[in-house]
């Protein structure tokens, strides 16, 4: 198990995750990130807010960014081609 931190970044403003959460591997952390972004986007759409160009940066406990997920990419993945 490793601890991953899920920071949310939007045009210079960052909501820092200072607790983190344990996952068995990077793929599980990525799945959690995408599911969490879906929940955040759903909440925005429900109240009529614009889905801004936000990113979730997934970091290790040394503060290195391991990967980032774009909110817009998550939305695009849900649109029929």
């Amino acid at each position: 198990m490793s601890r991953y931190f899920f920071n949310i970044r939007r045009s210079g403003d960052t909501a820092l995750d200072d607790e983190g959460e344990d996952f068995g591997n990077l793929e599980d952390a990525r799945e959690h990130a995408v599911n969490s972004i879906r929940e955040l986007i759903a909440a925005q759409i429900k109240v009529g807010a614009i889905v801004a160009d936000e990113h979730m940066d997934i970091c290790d406990d040394a503060g290195n960014t391991l990967f980032s997920v774009s909110f817009h990419d998550v939305v695009k993945d849900h649109l029929a081609k």
């Binding site: 949310i8 909501a15 995750d17 607790e19 959460e21 969490s36 909440a43």
Partner: protein, 238 residues
């Protein structure tokens, strides 16, 4: 150790009993400390004791067979637990945990039942409290259906603020996620929103209420009505 004189009793239910009744129940109350995370009751397990919190916050937690886990209601100095005890059913209907450490006075279940059967004043306060808790749970159900996560978080923080001394609420994002039935990043984001507005300060493991009035305004109809109903139910009892 029995309970203090009624003047020093901070559990609202015990403090509301007529003095004669209080003086008879007080020697039967035992003081206990409630550390965070303590499991008070588990679904289907026998009820051995009934708790009257004097500080701290406990949660009624529901876990579905599929493993979804969320809070259905919370209580502190305003009530007693488990609510089931009022109905003469000896098994707990829910899991009940301590979310914010505190303390309580405890009655043995058999003693509690005896008071319910033999003292109308005691039974009246307990059933009023049961009704107040039902109202809270009903409003939580509505809130889960219609309010966004930031409003629900504001509501939850206000409900805790009502039940802790001072302005600091010791709670992790992980716990808050279970309380609100959301994923942890939704808590991180909503705390950031509330902090950005200057309502709270969020540090690791501690949320400090900085502007209660503004937080209430932000929560608008997500907060206040059950609290108003509680005051109504507990007024002019005797």
């Amino acid at each position: 150790m029995g309970a203090p004189g009624q003047f020093g009793m901070t559990n609202r239910l015990l403090a509301s009993l007529p003095l004669d009744d209080y003086e008879r129940v007080a020697p039967q109350l035992k003081y206990v400390e409630l550390p965070r995370g303590k499991v008070l009751f588990e679904l289907g397990e026998p009820i051995e004791k009934v708790y009257f919190l004097t500080s701290g916050v406990g949660s009624v937690i529901v876990t579905t067979s599929g493993g979804h886990r969320t809070e259905a209601g919370l209580f502190g100095w305003d009530g007693y637990v488990p609510t089931t005890a009022a109905t003469d059913v000896e098994l707990s209907s829910y899991d009940v945990n301590v979310q914010i450490s505190g303390d309580a006075y405890v009655l043995e279940y058999s003693v509690f039942r005896e008071w319910m059967e033999t003292n109308r004043n005691f039974a009246k306060i307990i059933t009023r409290s049961l009704e107040a808790f039902s109202i809270q749970v009903a409003y939580t159900a509505v809130s889960n259906a219609v309010h966004d996560i930031s409003e629900r978080l504001a509501r939850w923080l206000l409900m805790c603020h009502d039940r802790v001394p001072g302005h600091e609420i010791h709670i992790t994002h992980d716990f808050l996620a279970v309380m609100l039935g959301v994923r942890r990043p939704s808590v991180t984001t909503s705390l950031h929103v509330l902090e950005g507005n200057g309502f709270i300060k969020a540090e690791r493991g501690i949320v400090t209420i900085r502007n209660r009035a503004a937080l209430e305004e932000f929560a608008h109809d997500a907060y206040g009505r059950p609290e108003q109903e509680y005051r109504r139910l507990m007024r002019n009892l005797f």
